[in-house]
């Protein structure tokens, strides 16, 4: 029996780093197994840094794309080149394969990979989408419903891969073994000397939508230069150097240096470890900083949502613009990215200064102010459920939006971590209340109808043909309920967290005999009913503390510190 475990992670630097707790956890759970990461060739050096990994299997994804679109190639050429590029992966046998790449292409690869157990998105033999493991369903949900899937990707990866990270915390893990340390010391000595705090600044990102305005970075740095005599290390890639140098010149802070394009990953990690703080867009080096223990202040701009990809660990801060369209979908092409202006340089500088102090930050303790008018700031830490959490840093009343997020957090943590019947699920939803509650009542009714139809089919499943028309009617009712559940989720995005999970779970049902299918459908609708009622309960009657993260210090205790 093969002893290899495969992590299929054809994503970028940040995702590779974020999957290291999973790798470490799997290695610990299967000490005799060889942990193999399949990564894109251009991120080979990042994959080789991953803790817990025994072997990196690079796939030249760029070459695969070229093969697929080469107009001069015929089918035999395309096929043989593709087979050659994929051979290192497809000729291996694995005990287990976990797909962390939630793309259609990876689903096809999972179908082709020879593994006894498979987790994550894959193609079924019938060509349908199939997602194994409830947390992996959740990962797929995450893409569509960022605002109501308030878990960090690191935890989703770990739990989805079968590592109970909520029980035993596993930090991000990089294999650095001292490489680059000497180089980093020399670099700082020669290029960034001085006594003030050293702040690493990542002003660029792989996606322009995730980039804060360069002028905002400049302003923020100047404030820190003036108030804290801060020095800056401007990092980035070789192709970004020109922009980064302009920013550096505009900031004009003594003891600062541009290091963009000059380092390999080990050298970069060594530099980040020596920084007192990192201020960054949501991009790969942010996760490297978190992994080496450097506090991070990050900006969740554009399609980024603060809780999903926040730097993993305690004490980091993430800024989130307050805007109805934020976060936007990855498919949106925005012509007026107002989100970038709502996070002000003054706000970021203020938090950076706080973070540079030795005192630990606590949620809800930073005074609100006009500089924070257009944004929220969240502090990372560990939730009561054992997973990473982000709580408001500013002293301001929680919004309805926040309550909804917390409600979902509590619900899913209960459902996915404990397997218990979720809190409040035994009570029908009150007939009063508008907005989300109206939508939840709608889901409740549909779920009930679905259960009734499924049970009726079960009752008559083995009966003679006379009941055929009844069975057909009930089947049509079930299909109609499914469609309505999907439509409701589309119409009321705040309810889509429940709708989409239902749809994804329904896709996983495999065709069987009538009675078996009816039982599965009944369970599916039953789960939706319980979750819907629980969420309604949490939103209406849930007390402070019952909703994870809503625990706050009494207001007088806060006031006495000011």
């Amino acid at each position: 029996m093969p002893d290899d475990i495969l992590l299929l992670n054809l994503t970028r630097l940040g995702d590779l780093v974020q999957s290291t707790p999973l790798a470490v956890g799997l290695k610990k759970a299967h000490p005799g197994a060889r942990l193999v990461v399949c990564a894109q060739k251009r991120f080979l050096s990042a994959a080789q840094l991953m803790g817990g990994v025994d072997e990196v299997l690079p796939i030249d994804y760029d070459a695969l794309k070229d093969v697929s679109s080469d107009p001069s190639s015929d089918i035999p050429s395309m096929v043989s080149k593709t087979e050659d590029l994929l051979a290192p992966l497809l000729r291996r046998k694995f005990r287990m394969a976990v797909n962390l790449t939630h793309t259609r292409t990876s689903a096809y690869l999972m179908y082709l990979i020879d593994a006894r157990e498979k987790s994550g998105v894959q193609m079924s033999p019938e060509g349908e989408r199939m997602i194994r493991h409830p947390w992996m369903l959740f990962l797929h949900n995450f893409g569509a419903n960022k605002q109501i899937t308030p878990f960090n990707l690191v935890d989703i990866y770990a739990e989805g891969g079968g590592v109970a990270i909520h029980r035993e915390r596993i930090p991000l893990s990089l294999r650095l073994s001292g490489a680059g340390e000497g180089w980093a010391d020399r670099f700082l000595r020669e290029r960034a000397p001085g006594g003030g705090p050293l702040i690493a600044v990542q002003t660029t990102a792989s996606d322009a939508r995730k980039m804060w305005h360069p002028s905002s970075f400049i302003r923020m740095c100047r404030i820190l230069k003036e108030t804290a005599r801060a020095r800056f290390l401007f990092i980035g890639g070789r192709e970004e150097r020109e922009l980064v140098e302009k920013i550096h010149a505009a900031v004009d802070a003594p003891g600062s240096a541009v290091v963009a394009g000059e380092t390999d990953l080990r050298q970069l990690c060594a530099l980040l470890r020596r920084a007192d703080l990192m201020v960054t867009n949501d991009t790969g080096p942010m996760h490297l900083a978190a992994a080496v223990g450097t506090p991070v202040v990050s900006l969740a701009i554009g399609p980024v949502y603060y809780c999903n990809t926040a730097p993993y660990g305690e004490g980091h801060v993430v800024f989130q613009p307050k805007l109805p369209c934020a976060p936007c979908s990855f498919h949106v092409r925005c012509v007026h990215p107002e989100c970038k202006s709502l996070v002000t340089p003054e706000a970021v500088a203020a938090i950076a200064l706080l973070r540079l102090r030795p005192e630990k930050l606590s949620p809800g303790t930073v005074p609100d102010g006009p500089e924070f008018a257009g944004c929220e700031a969240y502090l990372t830490g560990w939730g009561e459920d054992g997973l990473m959490d982000c709580l408001p840093l500013l002293d301001r009343a929680p919004t309805e939006r926040f309550r909804l997020e917390r409600g979902y957090r509590t619900l899913w943590a209960e459902v996915l971590l404990t397997g218990r019947r979720p809190t409040g699920s035994d009570r029908p939803i009150s007939p009063e209340g508008n907005g989300i509650l109206e939508a939840l009542r709608g889901l409740e009714a549909l779920a009930s109808k679905g259960i009734a139809a499924s049970n009726d089919i079960l009752r008559h499943a083995g009966a003679p043909a006379a009941h055929l028309s009844l069975l057909n009617r009930r089947l049509e009712e079930i299909r109609s309920c499914s469609r309505s559940i999907r439509d409701l989720g589309t119409a009321v995005p705040d309810a889509n967290g429940l709708s989409l999970m239902f749809i994804l779970e329904e896709e996983n049902l495999r065709e069987g005999d009538l009675a078996g299918s009816a039982r599965e459908n009944a369970a599916l609708f039953g789960n939706l009913l319980l979750r819907t009622r629980s969420l309604a309960y949490l939103l209406t009657e849930g007390r402070a503390g019952q909703i994870a993260g809503e625990k706050r210090e009494p207001a007088d205790a806060v006031a006495s510190r000011r």
């Binding site: 695969l64 794309k65 093969v67 697929s68 679109s69 107009p71 001069s72 015929d74 089918i75 035999p76 395309m78 096929v79 043989s80 593709t82 087979e83 793309t103 259609r104 292409t105 096809y108 690869l109 179908y111 082709l112 193609m123 033999p125 019938e126 060509g127």
Partner: protein
């Protein structure tokens, strides 16, 4: 004149139909030995005046000594004269097929020798123009299967281009057979020729090529907008704008072509592609050809553009050929229009269609001056006019249907099918009625015939090569002849039906767009063969190049003798319902398809 297959049954009729001028020999001698007839033509004695049989035997002996061709093989003989060489080949056991360029020698032989007996043993083709050898006909398979081509001496003296033409066409037919390519078809901006571009693309696909139809009609509105925006401005201002836009549009066309990477680019009249971009395409190793489907006298853009193409296909001959040479384009091949038989076919109208489209008489086309003049005589009759540009103020407008809107190809077919007599008058801006100098044949002629519908069409110089007047089509040359024919055929439905049936058979045999495109590709092979490396391989050649035997099963669903493009394979994998699990090969196809589509 198309290549005529002369048989023992039809040689007399063919000979009688030849114009007297074409049959003139200088004289016919009697050979000194055996008194065999020996013709003289244009000052040359065609065979030995002493012993033509012995001369023929020596000719064949010399051939046998220098050639690998063995008795039983087919030998194509350029020239026949009075048949002595062909007979000598027969006696030696070869299978001669003769291609005779001289109508006079053919005619003479029918008078001077036992042609019937000769034709029972020898396949004989009368060829007016070697270019016609690429047209459909029985001669093609004989030419393609000939193991050798020999030429009689008189052919080299009197018809110097004929032998080379015959050999070239034979080679082109053989080379193009089973050769498939990617072809980009660049449409015009607008007008009737846009439909022809589409038919050409479909025709190419029908014969197995992978086609990208580059529809640039969307750019047409921008040109119109530029014109309108600068209304009132000086011409040079308008021109500047148009030129700048054309440059941009042309660049986009080239990008699209390069992404498809074709071996051949077929451009149609008025496609907005610049000379510089044509040069770029040709430098990339593509063969860029032009099908000019307009009247060269009215649309003069070819004067500027023709020389930039590897091969030029006009729908006219004669004077246009000379003009093209003067413009620096000697490489041309006459290619008439045709009909798309998948759109134009017999289809009895439904009750609703009869009501909407049916009439005793119909005309489908634009309201050119000559048509408006000619059709006035039909005012008040059961006569429907379809198409645009018919002036509303004229009395004829009351016959114009549905406000004179543009009619689609499918509707056009319905109109032809629902009409008892379709009137087909070629357009002219400068004649009243029939243009006596009209040469090319419009697409309507083929389309009506393809529908198996009846038409009266004005006589055109190039029509006799395409249809047999009286047998397959009915023509008129004047108003009086038109009315006389109209009255007659309205009263004789069986004659109409018979002529229509034969007309359709002729279209299916010789005038489909698939056939035209086959001829186009063969002409390209003769004049500017595509790069060998750009040839698409048929499915039968693919399996052997794929190590995994599972591919054979997946590819087995496709015709083995045709190429297969990836998109077609992907469509077969993703289309339709299925019960079996996806195979490894199908999944790899899906994976590649996803990457092509830009999936992450």
């Amino acid at each position: 004149m198309p290549v005529k297959s002369v048989t023992s049954e039809n040689f007399s009729a063919i000979a009688r139909a030849l114009p007297p001028d074409a049959c003139r020999l200088d004289q016919v001698l009697a050979s000194r030995k055996d008194a065999l007839p020996v013709p003289r033509l244009r000052g040359k004695t065609i065979h030995s005046a002493f012993d033509p049989r012995q001369e023929a035997v020596r000719f064949v002996d010399a051939f046998r000594q220098r050639s690998d061709v063995v008795p039983g093989d087919t030998v194509a003989v350029a020239g026949n004269g009075y048949g002595y060489v062909a007979e000598a080949f027969l006696e030696q056991g070869y299978r001669p097929v003769v291609f005779e360029p001289s109508a006079a020698l053919f005619h003479g032989m029918t008078q001077g020798r036992d042609m019937g007996a000769f034709l029972r043993s020898v396949r004989y083709y009368l060829v007016d123009d070697p270019a016609d050898l690429l047209r459909p006909g029985e001669h093609r398979s004989d030419l393609a299967s000939a193991k050798a081509i020999v030429s009689l001496p008189y052919v080299q003296w009197l018809f110097p281009a004929f032998s080379e033409g015959l050999a070239g066409k034979a080679a082109a037919i053989r080379a193009a057979d089973g050769a498939f390519y990617r072809v980009s078809v660049i449409s015009p901006l607008s007008g009737g020729s846009w439909e022809i571009a589409r038919y050409a693309a479909r025709g190419l696909a029908a014969i197995g090529h992978a086609v990208d139809f580059v529809d640039v009609s969307g750019f047409g509105s921008a040109f119109a907008a530029i014109r309108e925006f600068h209304q009132g401005d000086k011409d040079d201002v308008v021109t500047k704008g148009m030129v700048a836009y054309q440059e941009w549009a042309s660049g986009r066309i080239v990008e699209r072509v390069n992404a498809f990477d074709p071996a051949v680019v077929l451009v149609l009249a008025q496609a907005p592609i610049t000379a510089e971009h044509l040069r770029i395409l040709r430098e990339a190793g593509r063969r860029v050809v032009f099908w000019f489907v307009e009247d060269f006298r009215l649309f003069r853009s070819w004067e500027r553009d023709a020389r930039h193409y590897d091969l030029f296909f006009p729908i006219q001959k004669g004077e246009f050929f000379r003009e093209l040479e003067l413009c620096g384009q000697p490489r041309r091949h006459y290619l008439p229009l045709g009909a798309d038989e998948t759109i134009f076919f017999p289809s009895p109208p439904s009750v609703e269609e009869e009501k909407r489209f049916g009439a005793l008489l119909s005309f489908m086309g634009a309201g050119y001056h000559n048509r408006r003049q000619f059709f006035n005589a039909l005012l008040g009759r059961d006569f429907r006019i379809w198409g645009t540009d018919w002036p509303a103020r004229e009395p004829l407008f009351r016959h114009v249907q549905e406000g004179g809107r543009r009619v689609t190809a499918v509707e056009t077919a319905k109109i032809f099918n629902a009409t008892r007599v379709n009137l087909n008058l070629h357009s002219s801006t400068s004649h009243e009625g029939v243009n006596p100098f009209g040469d090319f044949v419009n697409p309507r002629t083929f389309e009506i015939a393809a529908c198996g519908a009846f038409q009266l069409v004005d006589r055109r110089a190039l029509l006799p090569d395409l249809f047999d007047e009286g047998g397959e089509i009915v023509c008129f040359g004047s108003r009086s002849e038109f009315h006389e024919r109209l009255d007659h055929f309205l009263e004789h439905p069986r004659e109409r039906a018979e002529i229509s049936r034969k007309g359709r058979e002729r279209v299916l045999r010789e005038h489909t767009y698939a056939g035209r495109m086959r001829e186009l590709v063969e002409a390209v092979h003769e004049v500017c063969p595509p790069e060998a490396g750009r040839r698409l391989h048929p499915v039968s050649a693919m399996s052997s190049r794929l190590a995994d035997p599972g591919w054979e099963k997946l590819l087995g669903g496709f015709p083995g003798d045709r190429p297969l493009e990836f998109d077609a394979l992907l469509a077969s994998v993703t289309g339709g319902s299925r019960e079996a699990p996806f195979t490894r090969q199908e999944t790899l196809t899906l994976l590649l398809g996803g990457l092509r589509r830009g999936d992450a």
